[in-house]
Subunit: 203 residues, 2 copies
DNA sequence: GTCTATACGTAGATAGAC
DNA sequence: GTCTATCTACGTATAGAC
């Protein structure tokens, strides 16, 4: 009994997902240019040529991963933004999200950063990245400003505070990726939030 | 009048330094594997083949840069360590050093990190890197512990606090490297130190 | 849909001229 | 000491067999 068109489509979707999943680790570990298509193929358990059946090029895979990662974070930030939580709670939720991602999928954040730094990247992926950067920091900054108005976030330039938080989260993803195990003594959300919160608001 | 042996030696030293300086930027920007020898050559204003007169391979240049950067930071940390400053002041001095380096030579910190992450690296460079990681964090951790004993640093696992600080500094270098200009609103030392210091010890 | 074999280009490294 | 020309290896992408 031959496979139906639906079966084929399902296989195709699965393979695409396999490739993307495998690529995430390899890209984060070795970077875009150092990653060979053969690396991806073997990581995904596929033959070399087959990868080209699903993606036109290495850069296309990279761009796709970036798109997904960006969308993921943006979605979460938006859902938090429209919630009725307090500004500090929103910041906490966002940090927890990023930290959790850093632990379980450190590739994500790191690949986004690579995309920022790298030169040779498809224009579409670059556009997504730019949007991500401005949109996220814009949102986080608004939380900080609201918190300052209610007196739960310390005074100071929101841009600076936003950057400080970004740096901490960024560095965490980096650290997580380098040390290939989950190290004991991971920084807690509270430690990071101490940079922003007014004395006494955290335990 | 022919050049003396000293002249030749001086020229040789200068060229080596030229190559290293030029390489730092390129490596940080593009990563080890994406960097071509031709990139380095043109960045240094030299011909392609000449680079091989001074270095045997691309990896050797990279390793040399890493060694320098590591030594630089280690030296500073040691000099601070033996000073009679308070633990919090030592931490502040170290942060200021790293932040300043991040601003003026963001390549440094970023290249060290790359070296951590990358797989294909000369064994010697790897050894230097490992030493760096353990030595630095060991020193910083000792400052944190001393500060906790004198009551100027908050209670908590020193390993965790050390990591948090490391993340922030790490992320800053990354950010600095990605946004190719010196952005307004750079995080201040105080903001980072708020993660560690007891309430009221900072302005 | 999946694989292996091949053509093409590019980058690392060397040799030899000036 | 400095350059250009060349050899070689490897990685991308494609073509064609199963």
């Amino acid at each position: 009994m031959p496979r139906t068109a639906e079966d084929n489509q399902r296989i195709k979707d699965e393979r695409r997902e396999d490739i993307l999943t495998a690529s995430r680790t390899v890209f984060a570990r070795k970077g875009l240019s150092a990653t060979k298509m053969s690396d991806i193929a073997s990581a995904a358990g596929l033959s070399y040529g087959l990868v080209y059946h699903y993606f036109d090029s290495k850069e296309e895979i990279f761009a796709e991963i970036v798109r997904h990662a960006v969308q993921d974070t943006l979605n979460f930030a938006s859902s938090v933004d429209v919630s009725d939580a307090s500004p500090l709670e929103k910041l906490r939720a966002f940090c927890e999200f990023k930290i959790q991602k850093s632990v379980h999928r450190p590739e994500m954040h790191l690949i986004i950063t690579q995309a920022f730094a790298t030169d040779a990247l498809p224009p579409e992926a670059l556009a997504a990245i730019r949007q991500y950067g401005s949109k996220i920091s814009e949102t986080v900054r608004s939380w900080i400003q609201q918190g300052q108005e209610t007196g739960h976030i310390i005074e100071g330039d929101p841009v600076e505070l936003d950057m400080a938080l970004f740096c901490a989260l960024q560095g965490l993803a980096m650290l997580q990726m380098c040390s290939r195990v989950v190290p004991r003594g991971m920084p807690s959300v509270d430690t990071f939030l101490r940079m922003l919160s007014v004395r006494g608001d955290l335990s």
